[in-house]
């Protein structure tokens, strides 16, 4: 099961890196979204996989009985999903605003902050 998930994570990473290398903002956004999901799967797998044993304390017991699924990676992933979602939303709006204002989805034409033909520094002093 771990191996299957590891291959899946590898595929997620490959796709997202390919998309992130693109010049188009919208593709980079898709890459970021897929990368986030890949990372979540990675944390999930790194926390060791256990099948169908929820970490719930049975009736009348004081604590969990081994074996049980590790609840911590799930908590980590939940946090990462929420945070990643918030930041992704911001980037989505930012990309759209940039498309409206700068009329550019291609990062190559987005050169306001770093002019393409930057002036040479003065030779004095």
């Amino acid at each position: 099961m771990e191996i299957a998930l590891a291959v899946l994570i590898g595929m997620f990473f490959t796709v997202s890196i390919y998309l992130l290398l693109s010049r188009a903002i919208i593709r980079m956004l898709l890459g970021i979204a897929i990368l986030g999901n890949g990372v979540n799967l990675l944390i999930f797998t790194a926390g060791r996989l256990t099948k169908e044993i929820p970490p719930i304390i049975p009736m009348g017991q004081d604590g969990l009985i081994e074996p049980f699924a590790n609840p911590l990676p799930q908590a980590l992933i939940l946090t990462a999903i929420v945070i990643g979602f918030a930041l992704f939303t911001f980037l989505l709006v930012l990309g759209y605003r940039a498309y409206q204002e700068l009329d550019a989805d291609d990062t190559d034409t987005m050169r306001l902050a770093e002019p393409e033909r930057a002036p040479r520094p003065p030779l004095s002093y």
Partner: protein, 535 residues
Amino acid sequence: MAADKTNIVESSELPVAMIDVATSFADWLIILPTVIALMGAALLIMLRFNKAIQAGLAILIVVGIIILEVRLFLNVMEFGTQSMTMGKWLPPFGISFTVDVISIGFALAGAIVTLAVLIYAQADISSREVKYGFHSLVLLLLAGVTGAFMTGDLFNLYVWFEVMLIASFGLIIMGGRKIQLDGAIKYGFLNFLATTFFLISLGLIYGLFGTLNMADISQVSAQAPIGPLTAIGALLLLAFGMKGAAFPVNAWLPASYHTPHPAVSALFGGLLTKVGAYALLRSLLLIMPSARDFLDPVITFLAIATLILAPLGALAQTNLRRAIGFLLIGGVGSVLVGLGVPTIRGVAGASIYIFHSMLTISALYLMAGLIERIMGTQDTRKMGGLYSASSWLSILFLVLVFAVAGLPPFLGFWPKLLLIEASLSQGDVWLVVALVLNSLLTTIAGTRLWAHIFWRSGPVGENSEQENKKLKPLTLREKYLCVTPTTILVLFIVFFGLKPAMIFDAGRMAAYGLLDNSEYIEVTGLADPTKEKVE
């Protein structure tokens, strides 16, 4: 193992994984600066339509935080590293805040910079931006930075990084000019990517160690297999290097830091990259030193490349704030030198350098804001003649240039001296060459800026000996609100440069804390008792 934790849970009948004593005031002090900043940010959002009290309240909150942090700093200097754990669970299950000298020193410097920026910003931002929550975003950023410096848990560090990131997103686009959108795209994507790399390494750390508490990992990382450990270390180096704008992954910084308001630039330059540099020191020196040893040649190479290429970038710039951005990147190279020579001197040098860089770079950006205000442009080719208009500003700028280049007697000299001594003692001659070359190139770049802005009488081609008529003199309000905080930051730099004893003490303690993990582990209550008995 479990029974040994009773020294923390005194006379407890609960399971020993729980804390049942009330948190003492000394422990509250550890978390209060972060909590107050967060609550303050929330309060200011609720009061966002009441524009008149926003600034006063924000400044009051930051002053309160500074007072608490001074108290905490004195506590840490006197009694050593302190730790508290939240939510009744003992570490490594509960999240610890562990404060040593390096944490509280940087947090204090960050709060001071924030205060200076808040005062400066009163003349810099419009009332519309106040309504959009400028002050609460600044406090949120401070909360993220303070939390990142103080936390003792790696996942918690990730959360603080994201708090910082979302606040900085809000600040960098405040104003909504086209150039800001352009800068924000580059800043946003690359920084989000850096924190995602950090998250990947967190997943791997959890897989390898089964814990995310820094003290807990530090205890066992030496026994971990070197292969996975080095992979994690390299990933952390990439993630934090990207956050701190080290050499091959620094492109986002000069692309974005000159786009927002100067006050926001100063805040970012003083706080954000420093958190990346701090996280590098914390993770590779305290948590997994064996990964650092394996990566040593890489770190040395990155340090040399960053040190030499960054001031060359500054030399080639005609945009004032972009040039300062490159000077900022050069400073990250000095921190990498400290990481490359992990002796007491080297690490103390890197820690003091971060402290120095927080104050100096912020002051430089504030200064750049003042210069742009008077000149009406960011382009150094169109500047000139400021010396006769304001000699005070020209003195401040020259002091800052010397400080950032590491010339005595200012604060920047001492960490560079320590770093050079450490590199010599380790036989890393190339690091010494790079450090000296960096100082030389930074001096050239900085004094060229000074000559162009202040010394010559006008823009290129202007040969008249008369005063530059196009300058817009500062109003009285601007003088009070903008020049005063800049001057105070510069005075700090001069003062600590002339009286470096206290800084040296703190730096040495910080280095001991990072290189010897026993105290850090002990205060979190995770120390292995069998080991203590041997000692």
